[in-house]
Subunit: 361 residues, 4 copies
């Protein structure tokens, strides 16, 4: 039983490989009446696009989305929305020995183990290229959430290698701040250091990992469904669907291990007739249900597995060999991660916004 | 749209509150022919049970499961299995002012925000009591996985407060080692320190957080469904459904942030005609699909929110007040977490074992 | 992948066999705040109960439901509701040769083919006994629909053998009329004939089929989800889940085969500022979406397969044999069908009522 | 919560309107390794195509499918398969007053009631045009079933108006017989009468209903999932998702109403070491699980609602008006129904074939 559908009410189903004809998403469950056009999808696709700056892969791919259905006279009709993004270059390449070799850190071996063979062109379905239609769907979710609850979702780089940004108030970071530099780090001083580190990695034919932080503001209290579809559970799953994510945490996250309850508990107060907490170590969710405070999460992202330098490996028969990734690739995945993480974040919130409509008489 | 069902093929649906009549689970999708009786459920329920040692809550609850259906002449029939665990004490208690006050760190406020009111008795549906039937279902999943693939799943304490166990080979830890002490830490020296720390917390009327590590061995390569039901995504969701979990990571986890690709990549080798990797920084999954190596994950678990000492809070009208948790509660959640985490781990693996049957012609 | 869950938002999951310990249903998705107690479940369970009159089986089973969770201080909490109905007699019976023989018209052979073996006691999971918890869940759905939209759902006997009731206005039939006689046929004259026919069947050690008609009134226009979860599709599935149903039709049903479009089309008119149709050949749904007119459907129900007279058959090895059903059984399934059909009808409507909440901005 | 996904393991998700850019289907769950190309989809699309003969609409639409993903080197990869069929003519038409008027028998009014407005171009999402991608997906399902179990699925016309074909052995009808005439009726004599009747209907500016019969052969015993996903339940839902279907029945169908149990029961016999029944009044399913005998079902299909002759109606404000359907439409839906019915039949069987893989240890 395959797994290309995500969400319950706001639900996306995707298809597509790195070097196939096109990536496709069908979005089901967008309420009728939301203004929508391809123009709404472009900005986030541009933020995800390869070749956007010197710290990303230099591969050029224009991601031009086409909405095939579900929109009439500029508004969603309530029926399913299909969007495709064609791959520009599907000519038969010389894929060399990549068909036989298992790239370290990639899914080549596990795909073979699962299906018996694989589409090896550019990684096939395991390539991060499939996330372009997720980003398109995320733009629809974002627009819906902005329309109904004025919700904003923003991702940025918190850490690359040993360089950690100083971001005292995640909920105050603006899109302008994150887009002000090519690593998308709102701490502009650390951003420069990060850029230098990434360039060094490229020179070393190596790559580097990091941590992305994402924040949603204006999410009302009460979203999330006990006991299995808690907001933290669905967001956690969403983030782990993204390539290279090896860890997810909320609020204090792994830092809770060394805290006492008296240190970790956020205390309820009455703030102008709104019940809230003055601190937000809980990351905006209690019992897996939104508390009304900003939802703050972080994803650990591993260093790019593809390296220009040679790495030992084996082929399908287990014969030792060596592999170099000739294709241009990102020396660090962090700068392009923000729109992907935001998209999945938005899809989960849009789903739970609609789910909450059934919670009361 | 509520969320009391988990899994696709091996699927559980649960109901029940802390002080209601009973907790119930219906397990759907267990293949016909598996030997099963209540005796199979007891050991893990005993490991989860309150009052089992001096480092857990002193509340006594015998969790006696009753299988109501789906088993005939000692074997599963392929139809749905219902299990109930009655709550022993449902007499009307004096719940004091807990009905009006919002306990810090708990879901009282968010349940009210969601549903308009809540079952305040012992935390109602937000209490960890609901996990007892998950543990029962997990025991069924474990038995199935052992039967079909000789898979073992084991959880133990990795860290409590600043005390971190030294566990060089997670895949070699045995159930005997973890059960040898009451915190369930296979590093017996650190276990003693952890016990002392927890006892200190109880004296201080406080609590402490920690990290649990879980390992599954013998999972064959090829399980997990791209792109949304990757094994890492479904396991991540599973862990985040558990109360108090604030972070989940695999293999190197958040440690990847400071690694280079050349340091993080595990290299494929041919080991007696099996393709494998000598190191396991990837935690047993590549592209979200099992690689054949042990699956290793860690959960961050916050300190118990309930404290014997007084904490400030507000009531439903926002009036400032103060709360003390009189009920007996765990000064640290880690010792009892292992069977809960193992149960959710097993349910995910059982589901994906069955899902994989549809992957090839 | 088993199939013991029905519905999307209002969703039921069931378990239980004819002679097991209990039947169980977990209802998920009931909005918070609905008044509910066991008393709400009794009336429909009484209408489904065996032994209620001389035209049903004489087997006595009191169906006493117990609500285990999801209700607090007389109101639904928004969390999952578990209900069990214990089977009274689970002592070991002498099941004779029924374990080896395949009863004609029953699922003995197909269960063996599916699972490799079966719980043969009273038909196990294939017995209609499992519908008792569906009826309990249906009572919850009915109460919800009455509360939110004043919807009524009523089933009655339209035909038994060659005797067809004259019911010119299905939407005007009342519960009082259908309950006025023991076959549940609102045409009292035909009801007498039907009763006589059923008694004749019992004397002949035979059984007889029939047609049940069900009507829902006050369903607003707009429910049903294109293109796969049309109301007619979900209702059709719901009816076909019930034992012995061999056909389902709406409005004109199979009668449309001989009609011209100009005869079959219902014409829209303006009736006091409500757009409606004066005739209802379409059975209350257009394009699979409710039109605001009464939803009218009919189910064909086969004659009871169990017969007191001897029937030839084979055993598991294919050896010819003969079988007589000694257990008391219904000579006609129609009188007890109404509450089962109503229950599934209500569950579908409750689901779509909640689904419609997500259709618009 | 919308409803554009059908199936559990073999699962299709569709999008598209009559006059939108394209119809799209994503098929998820096709096992890896099935040979597949666009050529496999063409034959059934040709059988569904408008303008194929004098008894169908004269509208010309070439349905050229494009497989966008999920196939590599001529074989399915196990990942999701996207197929689009572009609509050829999306220029802005003069839709006249169809935007305001409610066509009798169509979903114009109910779509407005549901969503607040509608895509009125050619019926939008409510048009039968959306079924072209279902037929494409059905061709994939058919190929899979032929590959794994040599299953054949065939639909044909059983009745149009008062003309009923004489088909004593549904399981012996061949594709050649049904395709030998333009109404797809294997009784060639009655086919001629049917053709004459349809032509008469066109001359009268009217339309006519009928009954389609569908048969699947070689389905092994054991498919179908108690208690809610019985094969009869899922097939029934599948058929009712198709436009204009007002009734579905299996085997004896509504004819059971007048039968005694002793007449209706099919008797088990041992036929060369296979347990089977000599008669097939049960239509190939017992307890909703396949018995190994041919599965036989019939769908009642209403006369086309669109008429060339004028019909009274109202507009959105309820003002009385009159409507004539100028577009070319089918005077009878039966001839083109077979491939649609077969497609949904095949999708259900493919799903249950894969579901059955999880039924036993």
């Amino acid at each position: 039983m395959a797994g290309n559908t995500f969400g319950q009410i706001f639900r996306i189903t995707t298809a597509g490989e790195s070097h196939g004809r096109a990536n496709t998403v069908i979005i089901d469950g967008v309420p009728a009446g939301l203004p929508l056009s391809e123009d709404d999808l472009i900005p986030d696709l541009e933020r995800r696009r390869p070749g956007q700056s010197k710290v990303t892969t230099q591969r050029k791919e224009a991601d031009s989305p086409e909405i095939l259905s579900g929109v009439f006279e500029g508004k969603t009709t309530g029926t399913s929305i299909a969007i495709i993004i064609r791959n520009q270059d599907q000519r038969s390449h010389d894929y060399g020995n990549i068909a036989q070799l298992y790239r370290p850190g990639h899914a080549d071996y596990t795909f073979d183990a699962k299906y018996g063979f694989r589409d090896y062109r550019g990684g096939g379905r395991s390539s991060a290229r499939e996330t372009n239609v997720r980003v398109a769907a995320g733009a629809v979710a974002k627009k819906l959430l902005k329309h109904t609850h004025d919700i904003s979702i923003l991702g940025y780089v918190k850490q690359i290698g040993h360089i950690t940004a100083d971001i005292p108030n995640p909920e105050l970071v603006t899109l302008e701040q994150t887009e002000a530099n090519i690593v998308r780090c709102p701490d502009s001083q650390k951003a420069d250091e990060m850029i230098a580190l990434i360039e060094q990695m490229r020179r070393e034919e190596d790559s580097i990992g990091g941590i992305s932080e994402l924040v949603a503001t204006n999410v009302p209290a009460g979203w999330g469904e006990p006991v299995f579809d808690k907001l933290k559970a669905d967001l956690g799953k969403a983030m782990f669907t993204l390539p290279a994510v090896t860890g997810v945490e909320y609020g204090e996250g792994f830092g809770v291990a060394i805290l006492k309850g008296s240190q970790n508990n956020d205390i309820f107060v009455n703030n102008n007739d709104t019940i809230t907490t003055t601190t937000n170590r809980h990351g905006g969710m209690l019992g897996g249900i939104s508390s009304g405070l900003p939802i703050v999460l972080r994803c650990a992202i591993k260093p790019t597995s593809s390296l220009s330098k040679a790495q030992p490996t084996v082929d399908q028969q287990g014969t030792p060999s060596e592999i170099q990734t000739k294709g241009r690739h990102d020396p660090c995945l962090l700068p392009r991660f923000a729109p992907m993480g935001e998209a999945m974040f938005a899809i989960v919130l849009a789903d739970h916004m609609l789910r909450q409509r059934a919670a009361r008489l």
